[in-house]
Subunit: 259 residues, 2 copies
């Protein structure tokens, strides 16, 4: 350790917990809104409410970034916007490629939130030759053949995969080989990547299934909270089985009753 500073500014940079990182964008959004309304300062309580989190959690989150608040007053909105932006790396420009310009890819290309914060759609790529040249969101779609070329020329390190599941791993491999080290995957597949490459997935179907689980829970629990009188008819139709034979008939049950 060659630092030589007085007290440990410590490795806070390394030490920011994932859970905190995941919330920083949320705070940033709330702060940006305040900034637009020219609100000069905000307390942890107010900001936490706007971001939908606990105020103690928010303060602890900010403490990982450093001590940017003023006791008795709160946080300076502009300053905090800058600090969080910097911590998230949004003060620099991130060229992004979107691969797979189907319905979803096109929607992503058109999504305003993309461009707003440091992200720039550098290219739209699709495997369909018929798509090549067609403009989507003001950008001409390029063919997959150009992929490596585009990534290297533009210094792209973030790729978005919006292809069908079957093509995702292959596209992923090519992206990684060409130098991409962060991938946002919308295809319903588990991607395998080498160490050092980050993958985040967004899976509509999984989200819905999680909701369905909780929804079913509520329906089963009934008696208590049951604000919605509807949605029952359908549920009943499916309740053909004992509906609560967990643990099962001990094991002699054959592997039947599939979907």
């Amino acid at each position: 350790m060659a630092t030589g500073r007085t007290h440990r500014p410590a490795t806070r940079s390394r030490g920011i917990p994932e859970a905190t990182v995941a919330r920083l964008p949320l705070y940033l959004r709330a702060l940006t809104a305040l900034s637009e309304r020219s609100v000069p300062t905000v307390s942890s309580e107010e900001l936490a409410a706007a971001a939908g989190v606990n105020s103690a959690k928010l303060r602890k989150d900010f403490s990982y970034l450093g001590s940017y608040g003023t006791r008795g007053v709160g946080y300076d909105v502009e300053y905090l916007v800058y600090q969080i932006s910097r911590e998230l790396g949004l003060t620099q420009d991130w060229p992004v490629v979107i691969v797979g310009i189907g319905n979803l890819g096109a929607a992503l290309a058109n999504y305003g939130g993309f461009a707003s914060r440091g992200f720039r759609v550098a290219a739209l790529i699709d495997a369909d030759p018929a798509m090549a040249g067609k403009p989507v969101a003001g950008i001409a779609v390029q063919h997959t053949d150009e992929l490596e070329h585009i990534i290297e020329d533009n210094g792209v390190s973030i790729g978005v995969i919006a292809t069908p599941a079957g093509a995702a791993q292959q596209v992923c491999d090519r992206l990684v080989a060409a130098g991409v080290t962060s991938i946002l995957n919308f295809a319903p597949t588990v991607l395998t990547v080498p160490d050092g490459v980050d993958v985040r997935k967004v899976d509509l179907s999984i989200e819905l299934q999680i909701l369905a689980f909780h929804e079913q829970r509520k329906a089963g629990d009934d008696g208590a909270a049951a604000p919605a009188p509807a949605a029952r008819a359908v549920a009943e139709a499916a309740a053909v089985a004992p509906a609560d034979d967990r643990k099962g008939p001990d094991g002699d049950v054959p592997a039947v009753m599939p979907a």
Copy 2:
């Protein structure tokens, strides 16, 4: 756990951890793929690899559902598909409404994964009168005025919000008032809902920001892993400041340098 002895199926159902619930769809997908290839049984090791998780975690996850494996053999694929489907509530039909038929809403309506597992798009709703009647994904878009009507008639309990941020809370309120108790929110806003209503959010911009954070981390770390030679030029331009003056100049720094 403390229970007597014999078999206390206990309240396992209540006790399924959220983290486990979130992985069940992942397992289900892997199992469905195996099922389609007519694979009869699978070990925790194999299945874990396919789902991209640790095998011990997978076994523990399954243990919350009951003891569906056979020691020395593994899990029966078909049986497990059924059990997980049932646990997730996918053996019943879930009518879903999508509100906001812009680029994203249309993409969602066309998304095959929706219909595949128990979910059925009951209606597409948009505030633009010009959209009304237009077919998207084979379904005629209906006007927002019909919202309450549609939800009640179809017993919809799951709603998807794909509107602009500004309209999201209002749409959410109407959905909830009409009986929806689970919401999948694509709008970049924090939704406020009463107790008993579940909200899950999917936020493209947040995912990208998290990736940017890690990407920046990698770039800062350099020296070690740095497969991508590109992407540096831009990064440099942003490195105007000391680049590592965290903790800041002690506090006299004015709140300037915003985005």
